[in-house]
């Protein structure tokens, strides 16, 4: 089983805080590598393991900090778009997680499916944020979309790779950690 029902509000808040901290720390760590981040994977896995609400919260909380204290600048419409877009990873992760990891098949198949989901979610995220960026800065939409292609490709390819390599081990690791925590407690 990989779906954990978090009853305690305190535990839920702690989980959101820890996972948000992991996202923010990794984001600042990779600040120089544009559009290549572990955040999307962590948010997706948060949703997958703990449900859509926790996943969406981690996504929004991360952007509340990272979007405000960002060396690339702050722009409210983009901030809102990225926050909503990021929460999508958590929500979709949560909805897929409702079926349990077993539903997705054997190890390699699961990883491939996660890579596909990661890629498509990132495509939607990039499309939405590029449209909002173009509109808010005043760049014509086709130009905004075309000039964003290299960054979108880097984002989507890296996320597909991260989801392929990292999603399953991260879900398993969190599962083992929670089981051990339960046994000790």
């Amino acid at each position: 089983m990989t779906k954990y029902r978090v009853e305690s509000q305190a535990l839920k808040v702690s989980l959101i805080a820890v996972l948000t901290a992991a996202c923010i720390a990794s984001n600042y760590l990779l600040i120089g590598v544009v559009n290549v981040k572990f955040m999307d994977l962590i948010v997706f896995v948060s949703g997958f393991v703990f449900g859509p609400a926790v996943g969406a919260s981690v996504g929004i909380m991360t952007w509340l900090v990272y979007g405000t204290l960002n060396p690339y600048g702050f722009l409210l419409p983009i901030f809102i778009a990225t926050s909503i877009g990021e929460s999508l990873y958590g929500i979709i992760g949560g909805l897929l997680g409702l079926r349990g990891i077993e539903y997705f098949g054997a190890k390699l198949t699961v990883s491939i499916k996660f890579a596909i989901v990661g890629f498509l979610l990132t495509f939607i995220y990039d499309l939405a944020t590029n449209i909002v960026s173009g509109l808010s800065v005043g760049i014509p939409l086709p130009i905004a979309l075309v000039s964003g292609i290299p960054f979108a490709l880097a984002h989507e390819a890296s996320n597909a790779a991260f989801f392929f390599v990292g999603a399953l081990p991260l879900i398993s690791a969190i599962g083992r950690l929670l089981h051990r925590g339960g046994d000790d407690g």
Partner: protein, 151 residues
């Protein structure tokens, strides 16, 4: 049955991913091509405004003739400058202007000299150079020649 549908759904999703990647690449390459073509055209325009196109014939003697057709040389270039752009030239200055002694290491033989000509489009004939090569300014479409001539 549901499993089969499920497999096809994931295969379709994977194909959608590859379609997105390929479309992105195609659009990106198209955008790059448009940008580079525009840059090339602008650069060509700049070069055209700073250069003239000439045709230069170099006759080394003994049937050895080389043509530089539709060749760009700097705007306001003299024949000497144009020849220096296109070949390896040795020359000395005299009271009559620059006197070329060697072109591409050919020259220096007794009673043999590098003389220059221009093609007169009105009379359709070659005319002897009237000045030193450094005093003859080239214009767009000019046809000039160097000939290694023995007297």
């Amino acid at each position: 049955m549901a499993d089969r549908r499920n497999i096809w759904m994931w295969v379709s999703a994977a194909l959608l991913c590859t379609t997105i990647i390929v479309s992105y690449m195609a659009i990106n390459y198209q955008a790059q091509t448009i940008k580079l073509t525009a840059n090339y055209e602008a650069l060509k325009k700049d070069v055209e405004s700073l250069t003239v196109k000439i045709n230069m014939k170099i006759d080394y003697g003994g049937g050895d003739v080389v043509w530089f057709n539709n060749t760009r040389v700097p705007l306001d270039a003299s024949l000497l400058t144009a020849t220096q752009v296109l070949t390896d030239v040795e020359y000395k200055n005299s009271d009559f202007g620059a006197f070329i002694t060697k072109i591409n290491a050919v020259g220096g033989d007794a009673n043999t000299f590098w003389l220059w000509y221009y093609y007169d489009v009105e009379s359709h004939s070659w005319k002897n150079g009237e000045t030193g090569s450094n005093a003859w300014v080239l214009h767009n479409g000019d046809i000039v020649a160097w000939s290694y001539t023995t007297f």
